[in-house]
Symmetry: C2
Subunit: 231 residues, 2 copies
Amino acid sequence: MKEEIRQTSCENCVYRSWAFEKLTNEQLKEIDNSRKEYFYGKGEVVYREGDKVEKFLYLQKGLVKLLKTEKNEKEHIISIAKPLDFIGLLSIFSTQQYIYTITTVEDSIICEVDLSLIKKLIKENGDFALDFIEKMSKVFDDVIHTRLSISTKQLRGRIAYILLFFAEHIYGHNEYELPVSRKEIAQLIDMSTENVIRILSEFRKDNIITIEGKNITIHDTERLRRIYELG
Amino acid sequence: MKEEIRQTSCENCVYRSWAFEKLTNEQLKEIDNSRKEYFYGKGEVVYREGDKVEKFLYLQKGLVKLLKTEKNEKEHIISIAKPLDFIGLLSIFSTQQYIYTITTVEDSIICEVDLSLIKKLIKENGDFALDFIEKMSKVFDDVIHTRLSISTKQLRGRIAYILLFFAEHIYGHNEYELPVSRKEIAQLIDMSTENVIRILSEFRKDNIITIEGKNITIHDTERLRRIYELG
DNA sequence: CGCGGCTTTGATGTTCATCAAGTAAAGTGG
DNA sequence: CCACTTTACTTGATGAACATCAAAGCCGCG
């Protein structure tokens, strides 16, 4: 279901005013020429652990997850990325191979640019390079902050976190359709699927949220935030 | 006990052949001029959460820890850095203030360079910029990999990890003096101090290690590695 | 319509933090 | 240098938090 498409040009892309802000028009054109744009249906694998890193990827639309398979076969979700998050960036500059698997969790559009071109532009354009470093730094900070938030909290706090994460970071609404299964939530925040369900039910009984299948409505954001902060 | 010293020049520094490999002699001289070198005794605070970020730091000698204080007052160690690890790097390019506290765990020598100078050199020297990005990427990968290893394992696996970490990553010997207290180990790998002690004792009873106060000797590396890998 | 995956709830057992209490080691002031 | 205080270390006992197991309903899909 992966298929190449070409809807927009780089000039009008949201990334223009973000990652590629510092590029000259010439340089942006180079990107646009090297670039391939792909549509992926929900649940498709974009790259697999061990695949060779040759492309710089960015998510134009949709939602993806980065996951790692443990030695004991368990899958573990590192992070969920939306457009304007770098994806796959965690390793592309330091290893030859992907160390995470990237999978879509919603229909997505992903652009690929030759990594060698990005490297060339970093060398050529100092402002771009510095901007790039600053954005990398921010992304990494976020990931580490998140992992730390999760690992130091107990289950109720983690569920509160993930509910707020989708509401505030991903959708910007208190009412949304969960793009992931209960099991995926469990993999993301280090707990068992059963307990994800149990605690969601608790929150429902306490009138903090409403659940109808995948549809979540948060009624009491403040209370949820307190639960998150107190762990 | 912090005091300014000046032992070496950048030209002979180990960093020369690492972070600053791609700089010209001219540029390296700029670094050397801007640079201040400090000695810190064991246990001193280098920077505190909330301090303004103005300097790029690197550890020339010694060992430091990065820690974060939770809302509930608990301290949590993010990572332990040795020379050639970037320190404080996790945030210096994305925030105005340190989001971690940096403390020495052994006597250390730390160099400071104006961050604005590093930024200037990144803009001027593309090879340096790219090299810098690659090294950042690697450091971040390591931190994330470590956090993930720790959070998905149970206590025995975590203790095995930390014992191997010091043996292989920090000291390169199976016999070493622990630079941190049991409590600090607990803060680093998310468990209670009591259980750190209990599991160390178990490993001793099983003849995997010998403990004499702070002195650790690993007898059965392979068994430790199995414990680490199986969780 | 039946099969497999997702969801839900209850019951059970394990892992782990916490509490308590005591010993050893390491600073601190006179 | 010794009494004193504090901090680090250690072991056992208890209970809470959580994973795991089991069983059943639900839903989408071939």
